[in-house]
Amino acid sequence: MRVSRGERTANYVVLVAFAVFALWPVLTVLLAALGPDDAAGGSVGAGVLGLHPENFVTAWDQGRFGSYLRTSLFVSGTVVVVSVLFSLLSGYALGTMPFRGSTVLFYLFLVGIMMPSEAVLVPLYYDLRSLGLTDTIWALLLPQVAQSVAFGTFWMRAWFRSANRSVVEAARLDGASTWRILWQVLVPLARPAVVTLTVLTFMWTWNEFLVPLVMVVSESLRTAPLGLAFFQGQYTQGFTLLAAGACIVATPVVVLYLFLQRHFIAGMLEGAVRE
């Protein structure tokens, strides 16, 4: 379609303005993190090319982000592996095999997706406490696996339902078992859907704040976002190190996003019901 030159220019101006608006806080943090340490009172050297990458090292040590990142990585990794596996199995069952109660079960999963975590958190906390699981790694893993499996089942069921029947029929005629059909025929075909599910689960688990805040007291079990919130509380003299910490916490997901943005965007728009 053809539009006038003036309109075209105006379009670009508006787009650039919104892009800048979207990036403004990100750049604020990035520049602050690379600038001279405002709490050290100007006693620091010139840095590399006027930048101060050493802030990241200082923040890493002072904020103990090493420990937080390790917890986050372990929790996110475990939640992703376990919930993707469970989601594949339950999605396969709900998507390809009609059985009694399957509709009821599916609605149960839907409720699990729609139920906001704030609502279940209070009873969940006391349930886990009576089992002696609060302030252990299980209190971080179990609720998040449950949330992720609910969404994952919904997601994989949709994929399995839309999958090509004839491939499954052909494999069955060749004598493949139900189990083999899943792993050797369908899962390789489902790779894009599985990748999307993986990155979304990873992002949600990594960024989760409320569950770790409530469930965990020990410092060694704090996840990265939680660690950042505590760092902000303790470290009030300046912004530089806090900004560096913020960069450290955000980087893993942002890097993943830059490489797999198609999956992020598609997943969050299509599977949009969670969160």
Partner: protein, 257 residues
């Protein structure tokens, strides 16, 4: 559910109070205010981004613009950054010597500068604006994806009929996007009602209780003040509202199809 009917501090024996905790949700002015704040946040999280998203879509649907992919990547970026990080960034920008005040002074509106998050009247809109910033990307990308599905012939036809840009948008684009608008509203309204991390990190409900929201009250009462029963009641009410809203919006969208 069950806990919400008791007066319980989480440790000692609970006492049965029936529906008192629910009566509190309605009658306690602080709680009523927190639900009111949630309503304000809905305007900032859902309505404002929807307006901006529609304007952007209107612009982008008229012409092929180069760099659209890059634009999409950039405006969607806020969605993947941890809310705590976003809150830390905006807290800095809203600080008395932060970049929001710098910008206002540069634009000659120096009289408006203030410590945004510490100001009783400005804090809630300030928090809401972070939500607007956060949701614009999601809404815009969602609407753009929807516009991509509209056949170009429709636009051509509208032009042949002599429709101007505004008419074209209202008669062609807007009706075609009804489903996307419903999804966008559902997502953003729920996000607004569930706001927790943002309030926790930026203001902790303050100054006073001027930015306290229901999910923050749930956390605060259950895990800080030891009023578990009351917290559970708020949580139940919040859940019912969220279910009702998502159900309602979906129903409206489906009926219109």
């Amino acid at each position: 559910m069950q806990i919400s009917l008791y007066d319980w501090n989480g440790n000692t024996l609970a006492t049965w109070v029936g529906l008192d905790n629910y009566v509190d949700v309605v009658s306690d002015p602080a709680l009523r205010a927190s639900f009111g704040h949630a309503l304000v946040l809905i305007a900032f999280y859902a309505l404002l981004p929807l307006l901006v998203g529609l304007v952007l879509t209107a612009i982008l649907s008229r012409a092929r613009v180069r760099g659209l992919g890059f634009f999409r990547t950039v405006v969607f970026l806020p969605q993947v950054v941890a809310m705590v990080v976003i809150a830390v960034a905006w807290r800095r920008m809203y600080a008395p010597d932060g970049s929001v005040n710098d910008l206002l002074s540069a634009l000659g509106m120096g009289s408006l500068t203030r410590g945004w998050l510490g100001d009783y009247t400005a804090a809630l809109p300030a928090v809401g604006l972070i939500g607007t910033w956060f949701e614009i990307g999601l809404v815009t990308v969602l609407l753009l994806a929807g516009t991509g599905k509209i056949p170009t012939e429709l636009f051509e036809a509208a032009r042949l009929d002599g429709a101007g840009p505004v008419r074209e948008f209202v008669t062609v684009t807007l009706p075609a996007l009804r489903g996307e608008i419903a999804v966008a509203l559902t997502l953003t309204v729920i996000a607004a009602l569930r706001t927790f991390d943002l309030v926790y990190v930026t203001t902790r409900g303050g100054p006073g209780t001027s930015t306290s929201v229901p999910s923050y009250e749930v956390y605060n009462r259950a895990f800080q003040q030891g009023r578990v029963g009351s917290a559970a009641a708020i949580a139940v009410v919040l859940t019912v509202i969220i279910f009702a809203i998502s159900f309602g919006i979906t129903r409206i969208a489906e009926r219109d199809r």
